[in-house]
C-alpha cells in the first residue's frame, strides 16, 4: 500500500519536472534578450531536472526498496552548479558587451 503511494508521488514529481522543462524551453525561445533567456534557462530547467531526479529516486525507493544515494548527490550537484554556470556565462557576456534590449532602463554595472 505504502509502495503504491510512493510510486504515485514519484509519477507526480516526474510529470511536474517535465512540464517545468517545457516551460524553460518556451522561455528560451520567446524571451527577447540573452540575460532574460539565461534567467529562464538556469532557474526553471534546474528545478525541473531536480524534480525529475527526485521522482526517479522515489520510484526506485518505492518499487524495490533500493536506496540510491548517487541520485541525491546528483540533485545536490545540479542545485549548486546550475546557477553558478548561468552566472559565469552572464558575467562573461556582459564584459564582452553583448547588447541588451532597448527597454532596459537601468545598468548598475556601468560605472562612469
Amino acid at each position: 500500500m505504502i509502495d503504491t503511494i510512493v510510486i504515485i508521488v514519484s509519477m507526480i514529481f516526474i510529470i511536474l519536472g517535465a512540464l517545468l522543462s517545457v516551460i524553460s524551453a518556451i522561455g528560451l525561445i520567446r524571451l527577447p534578450d540573452v540575460y532574460t533567456r539565461a534567467h529562464a534557462a538556469s532557474k526553471s530547467s534546474t528545478l525541473g531536472v531536480m524534480f525529475m531526479m527526485f521522482g526517479v529516486f522515489l520510484y526506485f525507493l518505492g518499487r524495490d526498496h533500493h536506496f540510491e544515494p548517487t541520485l541525491l548527490l546528483a540533485i545536490l550537484f545540479i542545485f549548486t552548479t546550475g546557477p553558478i554556470g548561468g552566472h559565469l556565462i552572464m558575467r562573461s557576456a556582459y564584459y564582452s558587451e553583448t547588447p541588451y534590449t532597448e527597454t532596459t532602463v537601468r545598468d548598475d554595472l556601468n560605472i562612469e
Binding site: S21, A25, M52, T70, A74, I78, S92, T98
Partner: protein, 102 residues
C-alpha cells in the same frame, strides 16, 4: 497493471522532455550571439541528464545512474571553460613567473 501505467507516464514525460530539447536546439541554431548558444547548450546537457534518468526507469535498470553524475560534471566543466574563453580569450592561463621560460 501498475507497471503499464508507470511505463505510459514515463513515455509521456520522455516525449515532453524531447519537445523541450527540440526548442532548445532551435535556440542553439538560431541564437544571435555566442552567449545564447552557450546558455542553450548548458540547458541541453541538463535536459539530457533528465532523459537518462527517465530511461533508467523505463529500461528497469540502476546502472545508468552513475552516467547522470558524470554528465553533470562534464556539462558544468564545459560551461565554465566556455565562459572563461568568452571573457579572456584563453582557457588555461600560464603562470606569470614562467613567462620567459616557455
Amino acid at each position: 497493471m501498475t507497471n503499464d501505467i508507470v511505463n505510459i507516464i514515463i513515455i509521456i514525460a520522455l516525449i515532453i522532455v524531447a519537445c523541450a530539447m527540440l526548442g532548445i536546439v532551435y535556440r542553439v541554431i538560431k541564437g544571435p550571439t555566442l552567449a545564447d548558444r552557450v546558455v542553450a547548450l548548458d540547458a541541453l546537457g541538463i535536459s539530457l541528464m533528465a532523459m537518462i534518468a527517465l530511461f533508467s526507469v523505463l529500461l528497469n535498470t540502476k546502472y545508468y545512474i552513475s552516467i547522470i553524475m558524470l554528465l553533470g560534471v562534464l556539462a558544468f566543466l564545459g560551461t565554465a571553460a566556455f565562459a572563461k574563453f568568452m571573457e579572456r580569450g584563453e582557457i588555461v592561463e600560464y603562470d606569470r613567473h614562467n613567462r620567459d621560460h616557455r
